[in-house]
Symmetry: C2
């Protein structure tokens, strides 16, 4: 569907202009955002250029079958850091723009993905070239065999199986999955595919189809599963090689049929859709809930500056650039504090959701979600609910299968009063309190059943809080002999246990790139002092040390939090000889790593999941801890994070920290219908330590000193803060939800910028 004007839709945040606002000119970033994704034109020209390469033998995506070669993805190949720094710091020209093209070669018996590098962009005859992209993949090649190239054929195959066992599904599940519009069941299988004795297999389960209340079938597992040998590309070679029901394995459907005829066979029945799974308001209205709750307003308008096009933001003493891509969503670049870069790059790299269970599907499921795409799943935010009514929004764009997708208003930026002060002290004669105003950048990525809220919050003390929260529907297991893997939370539903682990890259630069990682340990000691009269005292001490090499670079937090890690520059001690820098420490909740050791499902595909924190030397050849298709071949992934650890020095080198956020999730009834953000959350705080002479939040005028004597205020010092005094209408405060755009899609091959169309999320 075509529609006018929406591509450039800019939201007018609610509440703007209710009082006098700042008279700030149109804001332009001081430098080009060299990290920003491909422009439409770049994407179109690169696509066109790729199609002109006869060796690729590409078919236009619109016409392609699974037996064609297609451009699966196209992203900016992020510039090498050295080139980027030359531009950012030394006025050198911007680094050349290259695209990273993910090409799926389907026209072969052994389909595969190969990454290609196209550039420089825009395409110019003679200089632009197209070469295999291998140097950033430590498998040696940006190459991955594809074992599920024929998804449509497989769905048809599974539907055929569903038809063949209709007698079973009717009897056990009171439902059918026969590739018919009247199906009451769907078939969905485990991810990743299983490599087993030289064949490729998948476990599938029948799931209930939501009829009205539950908007995700993940609450309706049936417990009937079958195993398919999906090896090869010829569906006639595929076969069902096993069945699972209620703890038992059957080699064939007939074996299951036979068992069903044996007296005493338990038919457990399906999970049934109902109001219990609906997210809608339900139950009695809470006392006084008919009154409107407190709401945050922004009387003087936004106090940050944003270049919407370049995705560049300045707020107080911070500035940063934002990029966005299909795999990992929003990323931050060149974060400066007080004019000096503190972070070159910060962003989520990959997220794992690893299940366990009695049944094969849950047991073998270990999603690496960047394959599905955190950027692809990051849609328009709901003003007034996802973000305050007055938030400012940015669009997000990415490329997939020869189309550029724009998700309007997918990122929001806003200031917030946290509701508690930043600083406070009372004496006999005065009290001093400072407001805690923060800047938040937020997006929400829906990956199937789960909604991940990603957030970067900037504080006046120079710290950055990195937070992820999870809501949405759990993926439940059918409750049958599964008490060891989760709570029994509804009729036949187990809150299937799983670990979320989200890996972030943090490239801090403290006074340049030559940095070291200081460890501070608080240790109990028994010590005799010159003054202790020979008595040994039980006390504690600091032990400071530096990590020497990557051999020490896999780190776990201490249960009592006695270790802290700070990136410093040893060549730049402060006037007192201390090494100033930024400390990395857990914020809210647990920062989980994966409980499973050497996961059979994951192999080597997510070796960043084994610890809380990692320190490595930064290299242009190691830009990311993960690769979206890593789990296609778990024992030989394209990027094996373990290979980053090759003993290199961490002493005054350019360091990269990878840290994990996450949670161990054992869903209980409180996760019905949805897991809630306030429960499933995790954060890391990146905070200055001995970095400045004192707390920089003293700069803000939004503090008060009240001097008093015997109840009378003798001085009220507000440091020049002026309270707005205008009158305004509450109806101007609320964000007006008048539209909701899923995806605005532009065909890139052929490039038809005016033929864009709008679809629903995932459409």
């Amino acid at each position: 569907m075509k529609s006018g004007g929406l591509r450039l839709k800019k939201r007018q945040p609610a509440g703007s202009g209710i009082c006098a606002t700042g008279n700030r000119a149109l804001f332009t970033a001081p430098q080009k955002n060299i990290f920003l994704g491909l422009t439409d034109l770049e994407a179109a020209s690169a696509t066109s250029f790729l199609h002109s390469q006869s060796n690729l033998n590409l078919t236009a995506a619109t016409n392609a079958t699974s037996w064609d070669n297609i451009i699966l993805g196209l992203e900016l190949l992020q510039p090498n850091k050295s080139d980027a720094l030359s531009y950012l710091d030394s006025g050198a020209p911007a680094p050349g723009r290259y695209a990273r093209a993910t090409v799926q070669f389907g026209a072969t018996d052994e389909p595969y993905i190969q990454e290609w590098m196209v550039g420089p962009l825009p395409v110019t005859n003679g200089t632009t070239s197209c070469t295999p992209l291998n140097y950033i993949y430590n498998k040696g090649r940006g190459y991955q065999r594809v074992y599920n190239a024929d998804a449509e054929a497989l769905a048809a195959f599974n539907g055929k199986i569903g038809s063949e066992v209709l007698d079973i599904t009717l009897q056990l599940l009171n439902g059918s999955a026969t590739n018919s519009p009247n199906d009451t069941l769907v078939i969905a299988g485990n991810d990743p595919l299983i490599h087993e004795n030289g064949i490729i297999v998948q476990w599938n389960q029948f799931w209930g189809v939501s009829t009205s209340f539950i908007f995700d079938e993940t609450l309706l597992p049936t417990g009937l599963e079958f195993k398919v040998n999906v090896t090869g590309r010829n569906p006639s070679g595929w076969s069902v090689i096993g069945w699972y029901y209620n703890g038992n394995f059957y080699e064939t459907a007939d074996d299951l049929r036979k068992a069903m005829k044996v007296p005493g066979f338990s038919i457990l029945g399906p999970n049934v859709d109902g109001p219990w799974g609906s997210t809608d308001q339900a139950g009695e209205i809470l006392p006084n809930d008919q009154l409107y709750p407190p709401i945050s307003i922004q009387p003087n308008g936004p106090r940050f500056s944003v270049d919407i096009e370049e995705k560049y933001v300045e707020w107080m003493d911070f500035s940063f650039y934002i990029s966005f891509n299909k795999d990992t969503g929003m990323q931050l670049h060149n974060i400066k504090f007080k004019g000096e870069r503190i972070i070159y790059e910060l962003g989520m790299q990959e997220a794992l959701a690893h299940y366990a269970g009695m049944d094969p599907l849950q047991s073998t499921t270990a999603y690496l979600d960047s394959m599905y795409g955190f950027g692809a799943g990051s849609y328009e935010l709901v003003g007034g609910f996802d973000c305050p009514d007055y938030a400012t929004y940015l669009n997000a764009s990415f490329y997939t299968t020869e189309t550029t997708h724009t998700h309007p208003n997918a990122l929001c930026l806003f200031e917030l009063d946290t509701g508690y002060p930043l600083q406070r002290h009372l004496t006999e004669t005065y009290v001093s309190v400072t407001k805690n105003i923060i800047l938040v950048l937020r997006s929400v990525s829906t990956v199937g059943n789960y909604d991940y809220m990603f957030e970067y919050a900037f504080y006046l003390d120079g710290s950055i809080h990195v937070t992820v929260r999870a809501s949405g529907y759990i993926q439940g297991a059918y409750f049958a002999k599964s008490g060891d893997y989760g709570f029994h939370i509804h009729d036949k539903l187990s809150g299937s246990m799983h670990d979320h682990v989200l890996n972030y890259k943090l490239d801090l630069d403290i006074h340049g790139t030559a940095n070291s990682l200081m460890k501070t340990a608080i240790v109990p000691v028994t010590e005799t002092y010159p003054w202790s009269g020979g008595v040994a005292r039980n006390t504690m001490k600091l032990e400071k040390s530096f990590l020497e090499s990557e051999n020490e670079g896999k780190i776990n937090w201490d249960p009592n939090g006695v270790f802290t890690y700070t990136v410093v520059n040893k060549d730049r001690p402060n006037q007192f000889g201390e090494y100033g820098g930024y400390r990395i420490a857990p914020g809210i909740g647990n920062t989980a790593f994966l409980v499973i050791q050497n996961s059979t499902s994951l192999g080597q595909a997510a070796n960043w999941d084994s610890h809380h924190l990692f320190a490595v030397r930064r290299k242009d050849t190691e830009p990311r801890s993960a690769y979206p298709y890593n789990s296609y071949e778990p024992e030989a992934p394209v990027v094996d994070f373990n290979k980053f650890f090759d003993g290199e020095s961490l002493d005054q080198e350019d360091l990269v920290i990878y840290f994990n956020l996450g949670m161990h999730h054992i869903p209980d009834t409180a996760d019905l219908p949805n897991t809630i953000f306030s429960s499933a959350r995790s954060s890391m705080v990146i905070r200055p330590q001995n970095y400045l002479p004192r707390d920089p939040s003293r700069n803000t005028i939004h503090q008060v000193r009240v001097n008093f004597n015997n109840g009378a205020v003798t001085e009220l010092e507000n440091f020049g803060a002026v309270k707005p005094t205008c009158s305004f209408d509450m109806s101007d405060v609320f964000f007006n939800i008048s539209s909701f755009d899923g995806e605005v899609i532009i065909p890139e091959y052929p490039y038809e910028p005016n033929e864009y169309y709008i679809t629903n999320p995932g459409g």
Copy 2:
């Protein structure tokens, strides 16, 4: 100073009535708050009654010297739980009111404190009695020897020492401490006093007196310290028995003088007051900071109900009573959710700040702050800064040395939109989001240099978040050979390392008092399944178990957070056989226990500091983990928490959980001038687990479901929430700071309710 009308001062919160507010009647608690502190009349009559007991030989506090017997404190003796439950649940009469009187017996060579029980109140001839209160103290007696009864004499003695070493302080510190108004130094000693070879000693340090900028001398240590034998009550028996400077111990001042004459003796110089220690706004105004930041408003007024007199609150499905006392400040009682009690008692019991250092004062300092009094230090809050402008305030009262102190507006209550949603899910056809509105109860206690912000936040999902944050001035050490104990953060200042550990009592009642503590462990396993073809898979499992007895009741969190603890009622499984209850899990930041093992300074005085979490059987004889004067005799404290652990069953008993919040604090330059709340904080979340059939937040109408198709909204379901549409004036939004009351003090003996007077905090 006398002043009219202030005693009953009630704040009109800002922003009330800006739009139509609820038409709620005056609100009265359904039951009497039997936990509330003594009334004026009760306190006055108990005081009078105590004075009539000739065996106590009391002197009125106004006339008393350190050689008299005085009433140091008077509190409500909290009712025994069984009596309280009879009243709360079964309509029995309210339990009799008894006062707990802390009497200091100074009229003896060996002064001591004895706790007394006075009641029932009000005093009635013949029935009211006064007996030693011993049963709640596991030393066997509510008795404690006092070793610092003669504080004034000791100050004079120290001043005399200061005068005797004027030559030294002038030369080393360029200052004087001679008990003169012109002193530029003060002398302050370590806490607790040291028991050493049969004598009592204290280490004192000279500290700089703040002249203008720094409002706490704790930033101005000098590094010159002396050790005094303070044994006995005769000042002529007191003596200086050692000196410390720059890492060296000197037996006498003359030894130090001699050393000072040796060439090469280092005079390190004092820390000097200056703008570096001022909390005021300083430095360039931040970009756009002249604009007013976002602010939370409450357009329809408060949505909770509060009985101001009874300190009873109802909000959504929660209700609770608040009490307040001098030692520990605010406490919560009889917290109900959906009409059923979930918590009988919740409150902070004691807080430890344990320092370590090269110098004797820091090394021997281990504050147990309830002696100073968290209630005593909990003063009027600053509207618009400590709490949102629209917050509702409660007064707080306590008794000390025969006066009742009221701190107006010391507690605040408010709802807040957390700025992120509680629930969220997006599908191809709709998005559902729920606001996260919470109720917060807050107080701030200033104990010397530090300001502790205590907070209980109630969430729509039935969870309670218990948070403490710390701001104010650090207690610094003089920087001399102290690099192993903190960072060098200013000229001669070490950010002296210390551990904050705050112990909370949590008496959960899940469907009654017969409860058990379920442990859920996530464990890595290698398992072969019926369906796995003989292949052993690396995966994970849940292991559920129950703590059998107090022998297992000392618990640490796992570094990877794989253990969870839930209080359940095994006799009341839910329909699926799961045990519903409330889970206790760390929230924000680290929940520290003390690093020091068997602290020489603390002895057995704070044995609750050794682990993260404790589970014990509740007993009327063990109401609190601590006693304010425990550190007077560290090796034989009045309450030794270790004695709570006597192997009793934890299987379907009335359980009490004690948990610790806290932080390991290694102050750095970012703590100058003040530590900030967003950095020094810790929280615990008490959350329902399988307690209800589903998430109770579905009840709220402040959620939205947006159905859409191709960018158009097809349905906007707001569940009846009505947005206010009134017009209002911003000048009505802000809290007007027109007065600041420290303490309103009423003499209780003789009782002169109209002779109250107002003083500054600590006045």
